[in-house]
């Protein structure tokens, strides 16, 4: 299938998922009640925000995962590798348990972002040679250290704080602020996508290994660090918005790569759109399946993503 046609198919799927995200939810709202007295129904308004949030978070995680997998040449690489989830978890838990959440609505996401960025910087500072493999190992180490510290914090916390931390770590689109969180994340996603489209040739070459990329005119060490930092930032921003949502950044790029293969220039936008569709559908499912107390989106992504991934694992891309 031609690249433009592939993008159109994914775009249509994303639009359909977005419409479903607005139409369906815990409460049944007839179409006639979407607009009341000239204003948008507040529940519909909330649905629009969380659907847009799911799209931006899903696309960001998929793009981040695509870059991680390409640069680290590992299909198990995922956006949280370089200590992002551990650092963000520690930041968010610290904010909740140490009482910083009382500072305001944005304090927990802000601390999560700070924790993720701090863990990331620590990895880049601690790993001297900065090859893909060493950064990966450094990320696992820093992530493990952060997770251990998080466990210590949880152990010494009150039970009500613990519930908040656990709920946040399972991921949710409920509390995304459209102006202060969603808009900057969308801008970052667009900027990262455009940059990656320009650098897709370099990403392709890096998939053959750093020496091959060097021999074809890519400053492999510098590009590895830039791409991993960008992918980590995308993941960190999504964590600060919606908590830790697993599987999307691991499964979606893998599936898109398996289905369409070829250059990253060709699969970048399909992967972003597929990530958006995946998370919008997971969010809808979480709201519809359990309307009284909705399922955390991270749980839905794992429950849906795992069997789909295993099914696709047994199919391979047909030769051109």
């Amino acid at each position: 299938m031609k690249a433009a046609r592939i993008i159109l198919v994914y775009l249509a799927a994303a639009l359909a998922a977005a419409v479903c995200g607005v139409l369906f939810g815990a409460a049944r709202i007839p179409l006639s009640e979407f607009v009341q007295d000239g204003a948008l129904n507040p529940i519909v308004e909330l649905r629009i925000v969380r659907t847009a949030a799911a799209a931006v978070v899903g696309a960001s995680l998929a793009v981040s995962g695509l870059v991680f997998q390409a640069v680290l040449r590992n299909s198990l690489a995922e956006p949280y590798l370089l200590g992002v989830s551990g650092g963000a978890g520690l930041g968010a838990a610290g904010a909740i348990i140490l009482g910083f959440s009382a500072w305001g609505f944005m304090s927990v996401p802000l601390f999560a972002l700070l924790g993720a960025v701090a863990a990331n910087l620590l990895v880049f500072a601690a790993v001297r040679r900065r090859s893909a493999e060493e950064l990966l190992l450094g990320g696992v180490m820093i992530g493990t250290l952060a997770s251990s510290m998080l466990m210590v914090l949880i152990t010494f916390s009150h039970s009500r704080d613990m519930a908040g931390v656990v709920w946040w770590m399972l991921g949710s689109m409920q509390n995304v602020d459209p102006a202060r969180q969603l808009a900057p994340a969308a801008v970052l996603l667009c900027a990262a996508t455009v940059y990656l489209l320009f650098r897709a040739g370099d990403v392709d070459l890096l998939t053959f290994g750093p020496e091959y990329a060097w021999n074809h005119g890519v400053n492999a060490r510098l590009m590895t660090v830039v791409l991993l930092a960008l992918a980590s930032l995308l993941a960190a921003v999504t964590v600060s918005m919606a908590g830790i949502i697993g599987f999307c950044g691991l499964v979606v790029p893998h599936i898109v790569r398996r289905l369409h293969g070829g250059s990253h220039r060709r699969i970048l936008i399909p992967a972003a759109l597929a990530g958006a569709v995946f998370l919008m559908l997971a969010d809808i499912l979480g709201r519809v399946v359990s309307p009284v107390r909705e399922l955390p989106v991270g749980m839905v992504t794992a429950a849906v993503g795992c069997p789909v991934f295993l099914w696709l694992l047994n199919r391979s891309r047909a030769g051109s």
């Binding site: 040739g201 392709d204 091959y212 060097w214 005119g217 790569r257």
Partner: protein
């Protein structure tokens, strides 16, 4: 255009002794040079130093009048192409055409579209390496020898002035080896070529200049007739060799 290495010293990180100790060589257009040596003698490391991928402890590598590290990556690869011995297979399986076109410079960054001149050059390179019929195949489905030719095509598609080949025939059958020898001979008048190989016969058949790397130094260098002799090879490889003529063609074999 030429590539000159002066007194290169290189020690692997963590090693006590240098792997390469004061190695000097020159690669100039119009000549095929061959670099021979035992396993682990540092041949591939020397190629990495020449390409600028590794930095030497001391010594210099000068490409076309400037230290290799001072060229921008894009400028460097226009002058110098390297074909590695081992290339990792990527997660994404690319077709032969996609892989070879990655070697082209100046491809539109956003669309990836090739200009008519680039398409023409790509077609000629695929023909030159007998890859035209495989252009749509995924690289993961190719044999080791076919894949080696794909990577060679990706290096040659830029029409570089200098070409470094690390074990270009290690996965090739005799027919493909002869094809590669003939290709290198055809290219040699225009470009400078360094072939790293274990195949003494390949060096004898196609090289005009041969270097023997042993214990971190160039132990012998000169014409194949001078260097590829039983007396020179025995101390390097630790076994005896026999050299004889077969229908006017020199042949060298280990005994």
């Amino acid at each position: 255009m030429k590539l000159t290495a002066e007194r290169l010293v290189y020690t692997h990180p963590g090693a006590c002794e240098p792997l390469l100790n004061s190695v000097s060589l020159e690669i100039a257009p119009g000549q095929i040079s061959a670099l021979l040596g035992r396993n682990g003698s540092g041949k591939s490391t020397l190629v990495r130093l020449l390409s600028g991928y590794l930095k030497p402890d001391s010594g210099s590598v000068v490409l076309d009048g400037r230290p290799v590290s001072e060229w921008s990556p894009a400028e460097r690869v226009q002058r110098l192409a390297v074909v590695q011995q081992h290339v990792d297979l990527p997660l994404t399986d690319y077709t032969v055409r996609e892989t070879v076109s990655m070697g082209l410079s100046g491809v539109s960054r956003l669309s990836g579209a090739l200009s008519p001149e680039q398409s023409d050059r790509l077609g000629r390179t695929l023909d030159m390496l007998d890859l035209a019929s495989l252009a749509g195949r995924l690289c993961g489905t190719l044999s080791g020898g076919e894949r080696q030719r794909v990577f060679m095509a990706a290096a040659l598609v830029r029409s570089p002035g200098l070409l470094l080949l690390d074990e270009p025939t290690s996965a090739a059958d005799p027919a493909v080896t002869m094809k590669i020898v003939s290709l290198l001979r055809n290219l040699a008048p225009e470009i400078g070529i360094l072939v790293v190989t274990h195949d003494l016969q390949l060096a004898l058949d196609c090289a005009g200049y041969v270097m023997l790397l042993h214990e971190g130094r160039i132990a012998a260098a000169g014409t194949p007739a001078d260097v590829l002799t039983p007396e020179t090879l025995k101390p390097v490889y630790g076994c005896s060799f026999r050299r004889f003529d077969c229908e006017g063609r020199p042949v060298i074999l280990p005994e």
